[in-house]
């Protein structure tokens, strides 16, 4: 049977050989190459492809892991960016608040300093005015007392020199008349 099949196949091959020969193809070489190819395919499927597929899978897994890692990193990056922006925003707000507070503090310090300076200036002016008033009063008092002393001494001297008996009696008469 097999011989029959082989002969049939030989026959077909011989029949075909004419075709291949007309095309310039050696049938035996072709068969050999087909067998070699199939062996090669078998060998590759048996030994090389699993390794390659395994490597490819591993590589794919690594790529997936890397992608996942990259995605994770991206997420972290995005989160960090969000955090950074929030932090930056908060920092801006805090900085603004600090600047505002500092401005208020500075204004308060300046106002206090101005108030203090005004108070001191007013105190100095008041003291100076009081001192001037006091000095003027003392000068007036001295002038008044000196004037009285001068008038008294002058009156005493002039009266002693000018007083005569007639004037004395006139004065006595006046004093007596004023008695009640």
């Amino acid at each position: 049977m097999s011989l029959e099949l082989l002969s049939n196949a030989q026959m077909i091959l011989f029949a075909k050989a004419d075709i291949f020969q007309s095309l310039g193809v050696d049938l035996q070489t072709l068969i050999f190459q087909i067998i070699a190819f199939l062996v090669l395919v078998f060998l590759l499927g048996k030994f090389a492809y699993p390794t390659l597929i395994e490597a490819a899978d591993r590589h794919q897994k690594e790529i997936d892991e890397s992608a996942a890692s990259a995605e994770n990193v991206q997420k972290i990056k995005d989160q960090s960016k969000t955090d950074y922006e929030e932090l930056l925003k908060k920092a801006h707000e805090e900085a603004g608040e600090i600047v505002h507070q500092a401005k208020e503090d500075a204004e308060s310090v300046v106002k206090n300093a101005e108030d203090d300076a005004n108070k001191r200036a007013n105190t100095i002016i008041d003291n100076a005015n009081n001192q001037i008033k006091s000095d003027i009063e003392a000068a007036k008092k001295n002038l008044y007392n000196d004037t009285i002393e001068f008038v008294t001494i002058a009156t005493e001297k002039v009266t002693k020199e000018k007083m005569n008996s007639t004037e004395d009696q006139t004065l006595i008469k006046k004093v007596v008349e004023e008695l009640r």
């Binding site: 007392n145 009266t159 004395d168 004065l171 006595i172 007596v176 004023e178």
Partner: protein
């Protein structure tokens, strides 16, 4: 003389011995009082006795006035002063004890047992000095 008399008793005795018509006191009485003051070692009380005596004379219708002036008052002024004092003290007789003191410059000062009338220039000058502040 161990018994010591009070000023009031002595001045009362002097007052009794005074002549109400002219205010004169017998000189022997004066000597007795002086002797008593020396004996009782109370010369320091004489001024007080005299003051009491002069005050007690008011009961005898007599007022003794010390009159201090730089010159003697003329009669008209003295009479005017006498009239005023008689009216004020309600007495009929006034005895002036006249003292001349040039330091008062002008005017007069009348000292009664209970008051002092100072109308001297010196007093005016003193009042002027008191106006000092």
């Amino acid at each position: 003389m161990n018994h010591k008399l009070s000023n009031r008793s002595i001045s009362g005795y002097l007052s009794d011995q005074t002549d109400a018509s002219n205010g004169a006191v017998n000189s022997s009485v004066i000597r007795i009082i002086a002797a008593y003051a020396i004996e009782s070692n109370s010369i320091g009380n004489l001024e007080s006795i005299i003051n009491d005596y002069e005050r007690s004379l008011l009961n005898k219708d007599i007022l003794i006035v010390s009159l201090v002036s730089s010159e003697q008052l003329d009669d008209s002024n003295k009479k005017a002063l006498e009239d005023k004092l008689c009216k004020y003290y309600n007495v009929s007789k006034i005895l002036f004890r006249e003292i001349i003191n040039k330091n008062i410059i002008g005017g007069f000062k009348a000292i009664t047992p209970d008051a002092e009338i100072d109308g001297t220039i010196n007093k005016g000058l003193t009042l002027l000095r008191r106006m000092k502040i």
